[in-house]
């Protein structure tokens, strides 16, 4: 009997006008979106390789260790999953002069949008008259006049309705994937397919959840015209409003210090204040040295000093000590100020992280946010990946500077005049930043609470629908 009702629901839906419209809409939107996004992804790849080539050309002429910190920056490469899920990958570049205002004004259409906005709306459009509509038609009492338990009916309705919804989605997704894969230059690895599979599982949970919500609302109303109003009201609140409000509410509850001020302070510490400290330390150490090597206190021209050094080993020793003292003073200044900068930055970063975590938690009231985090974390386009990328960048930075120190020591052993500032170095053997996506296991671990939360919300709505239907007056 249960199967008969599921079958009836599926047939009823498939033959309905809304099913045709849904199918048409998804079959247009998904392929067009994937086509445009894949084109953009391919463009990003060629842009990334062009930029890399520019950097290589630059380094051939101007590679000095102390001057390339701003040139050699780790950058996130485009990922194949970007043809489906965009997440945080839009190049807004807000902390540079060249920022892109367009993605801020009009956010992108991707698979996450299709699922979170379109599919949830479709689910409600299918579910709003599941109970109240049958009541209006008079078929509900006929159905229950048979030997049928109400729990079976409501379960069959949710299962059958939810399953029919997935048909147009899966069809559109398959066409979308074909659009992606026929374009040359797109290569999907096993992990990408696995991530897509998991996102599809999340989509099933998400759509079922909204279908159960729709049935719940339907079972609370006697008239289906009132049921659609309430459904849309709830949809607007939990899908459109809650996620957008959450970061603002979090920023009021957990304020952060002025970011611009922190950055300016960090720059002042590393720039003018470091120079002041360095000069002071240098002067102190030179005064101590002057007591030991009176020759250093004498005023003489650069040429005279050179000549003196060639003649007199004692003078050479004095000059060497002086060079070491100066280097030591500036190293000390860099260390002291570097610690101060780290302290200022990490205090601010901690507050930022606390606010972000709070915003994330608040937003998870909305299934839309839960699904967004789940899908972006699974495809390495989300907040989890930003942290991961930050760690990788840090590791690469340490590798690079270890390489720089080793290289410098080698060069100085060959030629003592080599220094960090003025010597051009051949850096073609430097460690290069190569982004490797986080292994799927870690991504799944990050997404797991999202799956549980979606399933939990779904169960709650199902239970509510169940209770409401038990009490429903079917006459």
């Amino acid at each position: 009997m249960f199967r008969a009702i599921v079958g009836k629901e599926i047939l009823g839906n498939i033959l309905s006008f809304r099913f045709v419209v849904t199918l048409a809409l998804l079959l247009v939107v998904v392929p067009v979106a994937t086509f445009v996004l894949t084109g953009d992804y391919l463009k990003k790849i060629s842009d990334a390789s062009l930029r890399q080539a520019e950097i290589e050309t630059y380094l051939r002429s101007y590679a000095h260790f102390n001057r390339i910190g701003n040139i050699l920056q780790a950058a996130m490469p485009p990922l194949p999953a970007e043809s489906l899920v965009r997440g945080l990958t839009a190049d807004i570049n807000i902390s540079e002069f060249d920022n892109d205002p367009l993605p801020v004004m009009f956010p992108l259409v991707d698979l996450v949008f299709v699922v979170t906005i379109l599919m949830s709306l479709v689910a409600l459009i299918f579910a709003y008259d599941a109970v109240s509509g049958e009541k209006e038609d008079g078929t509900l009492k006929l159905m229950l006049a048979n030997g049928l338990a109400r729990p079976k009916v409501i379960l069959a309705k949710i299962v059958g309705g939810g399953l029919t919804l997935l048909v147009p989605y899966v069809m559109a997704l398959i066409v979308g994937l074909l659009v992606i894969l026929v374009q040359p230059g797109v290569g999907w690895a096993g992990a990408d397919w696995a991530a897509l599979g998991l996102i599809t599982l999340g989509t099933v949970l998400y759509v079922m959840l909204f279908y159960a919500l729709g049935v719940f609302v339907s079972a609370r109303h006697q008239a289906s015209s009132a049921s659609i109003m309430t459904s849309l009201l709830v949809w607007v609140l939990i899908v459109l409003v809650v996620p957008s409000l959450s970061p603002y509410v979090a920023s009021f509850l957990a304020p952060t210090p002025s970011r611009i001020q922190v950055e300016r302070e960090a720059q002042r510490l590393g720039d003018t204040e470091r120079d002041d400290l360095g000069r002071k330390l240098e002067a102190e150490r030179l005064r101590e040295l002057a007591a030991k090597y009176p020759i250093l206190a004498e005023e003489m021209s650069e040429a005279d000093r050179k000549r003196l050094m060639e003649r007199d080993p004692a003078a050479r020793e004095a000059m060497e000590a002086r060079r070491k003292a100066v280097q030591g003073a500036w190293d000390e200044a860099n260390r002291v100020q570097g610690e101060k900068i780290t302290a200022v930055r990490s205090a601010a970063a901690k507050k930022d992280a606390a606010q972000t975590a709070l915003a994330r938690t608040i937003s998870m009231i909305s299934p839309l946010a839960v699904f967004t985090y789940l899908a972006t974390d699974l495809t390495s386009t989300g907040m989890k990946n930003q942290e991961y990328f930050g760690r990788m960048r840090g590791e690469w930075g340490r590798d690079f500077w270890a390489y720089a120190r080793k290289k410098m020591a080698e060069l100085q052993a060959k030629d003592p005049a080599t220094d960090w500032w003025n010597t051009a170095v051949d850096m073609s053997d430097r460690p290069r930043f190569a982004f490797k996506e986080e292994p799927l296991g870690g991504r799944v671990q990050a997404a797991l609470p999202g799956f549980l939360l979606l399933a939990g919300y779904g169960l709650v709505f199902f239970a509510l629908a169940y209770v409401s239907f038990l009490r429903y007056d079917v006459r």
């Binding site: 990003k44 930029r51 807000i94 002069f97 015209s225 996620p243 603002y248 611009i260």
Partner: protein, 414 residues
């Protein structure tokens, strides 16, 4: 006759469940949005108080715009700090860049509420105007009286528009009144005028969706199919079309990526500093070279970017929703055009400071003029495209209404 029908519609609305749900929703959302965005504005203003340059500091910061409470647009990027030095402009972004959740979801400003929620509300008012009365059997009774179909349609439209617009204006007016009591939020007379324009634009936008609702209602036999069609049309117009156009335009117009530009700038100044250390040329000529090359980059980028924006705007305008967003943000002074004008002004300011510091190296920084950005006057904003967008919005509305008239005249009311 039109008046009678309009009055009947208003009364019917006042008695319906739909009216209360929908108006309550709109009122709560408009109120919440104004409250949240006003709080956000005040926070950003306090932040501006901390970061505003002291006299003589070579820093350009534009204070946050109070109209951003209504249409945030690009105000976040326009209120960044541009610090001018011999190696170029160092830009620092504000608070929102520290929390990635801001980037994932749209800003809940008044513009968003109108664009998404009120358009939906207007459709819910319009979707069953004709089919419901047909199903109820009252349509033929009404037309049995000496009432022309045009009068019935216009009366219905007017009645519903008034029952939508009156509560909306009431709630918004209340919100604005509460805002203006706050001493931290001050609207200049010019900004008040712009605000009134934005509200008028919002009404035009609502009217457009109401007409669309009536059009589909007059084309369908049953209210439920009318609703399904309208919800899908709404999703397309509000979410899909305006957002696909931007990416599509990017594939047609070749614009350098913003990251490539930033890297190029870093390379320019680092190279010039190295050349200076190697002892080629004097400092002034290097500073000039950095500045000139950066400006050339910017000019080239602007040219291409403007072409991209023009194309993407024209594609997006397929959906009148995009026109609404463009017009409202430009009028508020938070749109793409205004942001470009501000950047141009920053570049000009940088060149003035660099010329001064090169002319008298020892007095650098002492008497630098402060940066002040004057927003483009309203007539220029309107001429630069906002007027076109308003006209397009109005034209679409009239077209939808005219089509619904045609459809209604042919409607079988039995």
């Amino acid at each position: 006759m039109i008046g009678t029908i309009a009055r009947k519609e208003i009364l019917a609305n006042l008695l319906s469940y739909k009216f209360y749900v929908v108006i309550l929703l709109a009122a709560v959302l408009v109120g919440t949005s104004l409250f949240i965005m006003a709080r956000d504005f005040k926070d950003r203003q306090a932040d501006y108080g901390l970061i505003r340059p002291k006299p003589g500091e070579p820093i350009a910061v534009n204070p946050p715009n109070p109209l951003a409470v209504f249409a945030k647009g690009l105000d976040e990027s326009m209120a960044r700090s541009y610090e001018i030095g011999p190696t170029g402009i160092t830009v620092r972004a504000g608070q929102k860049s520290g929390n990635a959740v801001f980037a994932l979801f749209p800003t809940p400003d008044f513009l968003f509420i109108v664009r998404v929620v009120l358009s939906l509300v207007a459709l819910l008012f319009g979707f069953d105007q004709i089919s419901r009365e047909k199903e109820g059997g009252t349509l033929r009774l009404m037309l049995a009286n000496p009432a022309s179909r045009g009068a019935v349609l216009l009366g219905k439209w007017l009645g519903n528009f008034i029952s939508l617009a009156a509560p909306f204006l009431l709630v918004t007016g209340l919100g604005v009144a509460v805002l203006s009591l706050d001493p931290a939020i001050r609207f200049s007379p010019d900004q008040s005028l712009r605000l009134i324009l934005i509200l008028a634009l919002a009404l035009l936008y609502i009217a457009l969706f109401l007409s669309l609702g009536m059009l589909v209602s007059a084309l369908t036999r049953r209210a439920s199919s009318s609703l399904v069609i309208l919800l899908f049309a709404w999703a397309l117009l509000v979410f899909v079309l305006p957002n696909l156009g931007t990416l599509a335009a990017r594939q047609i117009v070749d614009v350098p990526s913003v990251r490539a530009l930033s890297e190029k700038r870093q390379q320019i100044w680092t190279r010039e500093i190295l050349l200076r250390i190697r002892g080629q040329g004097d400092w002034a000529s290097h500073v000039k070279a950095i500045s000139a090359e950066n400006d050339a980059l910017e000019a080239d980028y602007r040219l291409k970017f403007d072409r991209l924006v023009a194309l993407s705007k024209n594609i997006n305008r397929v959906s009148p929703v995009a026109s609404f967003v463009y017009a409202a943000t430009e009028i508020a002074g938070t749109g793409i055009g205004e942001e470009g004008a501000l950047k141009k002004e920053v570049v000009r300011y940088k060149n003035r400071l660099i010329d001064r510091s090169l002319a008298s190296p020892e007095g650098a920084g002492a008497g630098d003029p402060a940066f002040r950005y004057a927003y483009r006057p309203l007539d220029r904003v309107l001429a630069a495209g906002a007027l076109f967008d308003i006209a397009w919005l109005a034209a679409c509305g009239i077209l939808f209404f005219a089509l619904s008239y045609v459809a209604f005249v042919r409607y079988d009311v039995r």
